[in-house]
């Protein structure tokens, strides 16, 4: 029964990924812009163009190209980047950890900020504090992440320059890392000097990504908390003598968190989508930044590889959310 559900789930994931692959493959070939024209100097002969086109397999029909690429992917070969002339899979896995670290730090910040303001707002419901939280979250939500990025650059990069506004790590530093997860590895190696340098680079893009998500979490969780706080078992806990904060944390939070959890799953995928432009803004060397270069250079294999990895990430996040949901709700677990 469980195995059957798991297999069905796996199959839908594969169908989703195949659909994404088809759409990306076709769209970037139909859209205007020619990768070969970008590579050659002006005045190249038609013969040169044709030769290069054949070299990258672009002289065949889209259907043929697709199946050649797909058979490569099945063997783990995502092709060679046109602009960087390196293995696509290697390039993607080299950059993915930077983006994952940024997204995870942003997610943790969003949950921390959103959760705290939601609990505070629910505890102080009906007061000026709740109104203030509502106004703040309204503002955080209606300003998009890249605009927050610009605001933060102005505030903490220019006016009060306490953070670094570009890059992932200071280039003069000697890095002992064996993985690309610099931030997590610096924590594990207890090299907090490096952690601090990484944080100084990461904090602003992470905040920019986190603020809109924090606002959504704050609004939804506060609403769910306020609904739960009128229920009988919460009233009973108050009669028992528990303070409002204890009541929220012990009785209400777990039950109120379920709808928010689903939303975080969906919104986290948007946040990862947001890394593309925010990484560009802060010259952060992640996958999103590379994606923009790939699009500008019409680097077809690289675009395909990046999009497919993003798609896989989204599908896995949804799976994780479903599993957490079952874990948190005893009625689902035993039913």
């Amino acid at each position: 029964m469980l195995l059957q559900r798991f297999l069905i789930r796996l199959l839908t994931m594969l169908v989703t990924l195949f659909g994404v692959a088809v759409v990306v493959f076709v769209v970037i070939r139909v859209a205007p812009g020619d990768p070969i024209a970008m590579m050659l100097p002006p005045g190249a002969t038609d013969a040169d163009i044709a030769r290069l086109r054949a070299l990258y397999g672009l002289d065949k029909t889209i259907v043929e190209q697709f199946f050649i690429w797909l058979s490569g992917v099945a063997r783990g070969d995502f092709g060679t980047s046109i602009s960087l002339r390196q293995d696509v899979l290697g390039l993607v896995f080299n950059r993915l950890p930077a983006t994952l670290e940024l997204a995870i730090v942003a997610l943790v910040m969003a949950v921390a900020i959103g959760g705290t303001t939601a609990i505070l707002g629910a505890r102080e419901r009906g007061t000026a504090i709740e109104a203030g939280i509502d106004i703040a979250s309204g503002a955080a939500l209606s300003i998009p992440d890249f605009l927050w990025g610009l605001v933060l650059i102005l505030l903490f990069g220019v006016l009060v320059p306490i953070f670094d506004i570009s890059g992932r790590v200071s280039p003069q530093l000697d890095l002992p890392f064996v993985t690309q997860f610099y931030f997590f590895e610096s924590l594990l190696r207890l090299r907090f000097d490096l952690t601090w340098d990484l944080l100084k680079h990461m904090l602003m893009p992470a905040i920019a990504l986190a603020l809109p998500l924090a606002a959504i979490i704050s609004q939804l969780l506060k609403q769910s908390l306020k609904e739960v706080l009128d229920l009988d078992y919460v009233v009973l806990a108050r009669v028992k003598g528990f303070s409002e904060t204890q009541v929220i944390l012990r009785e209400a939070l777990k039950n109120a968190a379920l709808p928010t959890l689903t939303l975080i799953g969906v919104q986290f995928t948007f946040l990862i989508g947001g890394t593309v432009i925010v990484e560009r803004l802060f010259s952060y060397e992640g996958l999103g930044n590379m994606a923009i270069d790939a699009v500008i250079n019409r680097d077809l294999p690289l675009i395909q590889g990046i999009v497919l990895v993003f798609a896989l990430l989204f599908v896995l996040i949804n799976l994780a959310v479903d599993m957490m949901y079952a874990l948190l709700n005893p009625r689902l677990r035993h039913g």
Partner: protein, 292 residues
């Protein structure tokens, strides 16, 4: 000796200024069961919630005193009031299906007040809880304590809630229509159980109900409530023998009897309702809302 609960002249209003409790006064002596009877919307649950300090935010108390064993609840700072209420009172809620947290096991829900508010040891609280489960005739405490609420029937959950209410030996229990949400066969058992535990522990109960049949079985004193106003107050036996207020007589006439269920069902008379409306209007005219 001071009364267990002494409510004097309590008035409460909604945010729009509408009066929902009209100068209510009542006392519950130690070890006594005081029934608070009235139709839905009469404000009887509101009185219970006011005593326990859990009124909804839309209702505010504008006048009156509530004394719990002589301590003026209105004069205590919020933290001390919460501690006092937590230590000396308990609530048996109306709907056992919603009064237990669905994501927590029964055990910790029963012991958390003993351990975290009253400072008992975990072992002591566990022993006490098992003793009370035995008193409410739950024979497999191990299974019940480990269960989640959805794994127990409504009657079982109400037993659990009754056991939890008596566990800390409160001086006063507010029972808020504790049998209304249960089916009829279970109602009787639960009522007997509450009566038995009340006698044994000598706990005072403010028993909120709309059911005069329940009043007759469990209480020594009755307050009849209409539109937030106490219209009649008497010993239970006296009330049933000689109801003075026309509304009380009408309520009794509207209570079904097993011997002759249809003949006994009479809606409350128009003239009685008109009389009540005049009485309420006169009371409101005489009342001036105090400042602050």
């Amino acid at each position: 000796m001071s009364a267990c609960l002494d409510i004097a002249n309590l008035s409460a209003v909604l945010a729009n200024g509408q009066r929902v409790l009209r100068s209510v006064s009542l006392t519950v002596q130690p070890g006594e069961v005081r029934a608070l009877v009235g139709e839905s919307g009469a404000g009887k649950t509101m009185i219970g919630k006011a005593v326990l300090g859990v009124l909804p935010s839309s209702v505010s108390i504008v006048e009156g005193d509530m004394r719990l064993e002589g301590e003026d609840l209105g004069k205590l700072p919020p933290k001390a009031r919460r501690a006092l209420i937590g230590a000396r009172t308990a609530l048996i809620p109306q709907d056992p299906l919603t009064a237990l947290n669905p994501s927590r096991r029964i055990g910790p829900q029963m012991t958390d007040r003993l351990v975290r508010i009253l400072g008992w040891s975990g072992d002591g609280a566990d022993r006490r809880t098992r003793q009370l489960l035995d008193e409410v005739q739950i024979r497999d405490p191990d299974r019940v304590l480990k269960s989640y609420p959805h794994e127990l029937s409504g009657g079982m959950r109400q037993r659990v809630l009754i056991a939890a209410a008596f566990a800390a030996e409160p001086r006063l229990i507010v029972a808020d229509e504790p049998t209304t949400a249960l089916d009829v066969t279970v109602q009787k058992q639960i009522l007997r159980l509450i009566a038995a535990l009340q006698r044994e522990h000598g706990t005072a109960i403010l028993f909120v109900t709309h059911d005069l049949g329940v009043v007759a079985k469990i209480s020594q004193k009755v307050s009849v409530l209409y539109a937030g106003k106490v219209v009649e107050e008497a010993g239970t036996a006296d009330l049933f023998a000689a109801p003075r207020h026309p509304y009380t007589r009408a309520l009794m006439a509207a209570t079904p009897r097993y011997t002759d269920p249809f003949a006994s069902l009479k809606p409350v008379d128009e003239t009685v309702l008109a009389g009540l409306a005049a009485e309420i209007a006169a009371a409101d005219q005489a009342w001036r809302r105090p400042n602050g």
